[in-house]
């Protein structure tokens, strides 16, 4: 299909879009997670171990997603009692704990990482996952659960008074997000072929956060745009050599000032 390099870029872009969507879902219920890297790590490691044991790729991916979702349930429960900023730091802590866990977990190589993963990911897997994930997120918007998530986000007192079970909705949003991140991790592991705990540290979660907030967290297209900009921009800045990251960082500041609600602004009261 595309030339090798660009196909690789496209695959990583697709995986990053999945990660962005994995944060978008809990964010639309008002849950800000800076720990999606942790869920990604769980999906990556479990799926790699499973394929090495001969399990089919499809099931390995799903298993990664489900284990991540299960852990998401555990993390989500304390998250029910705390809000906003607190939750950000809690999830940040969760991500770091996952990293330290894998740094010490010998069966998956501890700090030396896990290599020799089969190159099972190709553009079809990634494209398929992206289309499905995006489809789910898009349709969620006009569903009972999706409306409930937005209601919980905007006014949880009123939402609860209208019959919405806050616990159920928040946990659902959080677990769906964890699931997507786990899937992305599984796809990532089988494309990068070598994983180590530092690939899933805070920097990863911070970038995922950027994908969504930069693009605009109020609209499913936001994460798409944000991911494209954050991932592809450095490619176009190649000419700047060593100054790439400096320019990139400065651009983040500039965009934050210029478009505080994200590149795709927040629709207030939808129009159809």
């Amino acid at each position: 299909m595309l030339g090798g390099y660009w196909e690789s870029v496209a695959i990583f872009l697709g995986i990053d879009i999945l990660l962005a969507l994995s944060l978008y879902v809990p964010l639309s219920a008002g849950l800000i997670s800076l720990g999606q890297g942790g869920f990604m790590a769980i999906g990556a490691y479990l799926s790699a171990v499973l394929t090495k044991a001969g399990i089919a790729f499809f099931f390995a991916i799903l298993a990664g997603g489900f284990l991540a979702a299960l852990v998401g349930l555990l993390v989500g429960i304390p998250a029910l009692r705390i809000r906003g900023i607190y939750l950000m730091i809690l999830t940040l802590g969760f991500g770091e704990i996952v990293k330290v866990f894998f740094l010490n977990f010998d069966p998956t190589g501890a700090a030396s990482g896990l290599g020799g993963i089969a190159p099972l990911t190709d553009w079809r897997w990634v494209a398929g996952a992206c289309v499905l994930a995006f489809g789910v997120v898009w349709r969620l918007r006009s569903s009972r659960l999706g409306r409930a998530m937005i209601a919980v986000h905007q006014d949880d007192t009123a939402a609860e008074a209208m019959g919405i079970n806050l616990t159920q909705v928040k946990l659902a949003a959080f677990c769906i997000g964890a699931f997507l991140a786990g899937i992305a991790g599984a796809l990532y592991a089988h494309e990068a072929l070598f994983i180590d705990p530092n690939q899933f540290a805070f920097a990863r979660s911070a970038i995922i956060f950027l994908y969504v907030v930069l693009g605009g967290p109020a609209n499913p297209l936001g994460p798409l745009v944000g991911t494209a900009v954050v991932d592809l921009l450095p490619e176009f800045l190649r000419g700047l050599q060593d100054w790439r990251m400096t320019v990139f960082g400065s651009l983040l500041v500039i965009v934050a000032i210029w478009r505080p609600d994200g590149l795709i602004g927040a629709p207030r009261g939808r129009r159809r």
Binding site: R144, R147, Q154, A161, R271
Partner: protein
Amino acid sequence: MSALLELGSVSRHFGGYQALRDVSFVVTEAHIHALIGPNGAGKTTLFNIISGALRPSSGRLQFLGRDYGGRRPHAILAMGIARNFQQVRLFPGLSVIENVMVGCHARMPDHSWRDLFSFQLFSAPAERQARDRAQEMLRFVGLEGHGNDGPGELTLVDQRRLEIARALASQPRLLLLDEPAAGMNPAEVAQISQLIRLIQRNGITILLVEHHMRLVMDVASRITVLSAGSVLAEGTADEIQRNADVVSAYLGTDHDAAVGPLA
């Protein structure tokens, strides 16, 4: 007529402050029952206890004969008690009709997981039904045609109507209204009054907290007067107006609508 809501010796304190003391009354089905009293009497606290936003310190709350004290608000809604908010609490990110559809949440089947994996093939009929019902509620309150607007674009009266429509969408047996006429001019108050009577004619019982005496006297078939956390008096509109204790409880407060002997 049966007792829909029954309060038995409900009390509530906040630290050392006794906000409510042994409040008991009954709301009878198909009536419009009003809760009035001077500022600081504890009406809001009582209202929040009935709707589940607060727990009573002691006392009994019964709906349709069953105790429900301590339940979460969403479970109370499922039982059949819906409310509005004095400071209108709509969802700005949802359109007007979507706001009402949130009211349908508790009455829609929970197909969340099937939805996710089937792109809502399963729930499409339920979704259509909810939308139809929401449209019907908008028509009922007089907001037909505003379905796709943003809630922020509505006037205050219309926002209040929207909140009521949202509450009605949950098919309540008892509707709790917290100062639905607050901040309105006399013409608007009359509109709300009309809407309240229309709701009652459709078989829904109403418990109303209000300061606009004219509205209260117009619609309420039974009035409970709260003062300093206790029930001061209870009776029909006529009885309350002639009650000397009630009149003196109100004198000395700068009430826009309390005129002499609450005429």
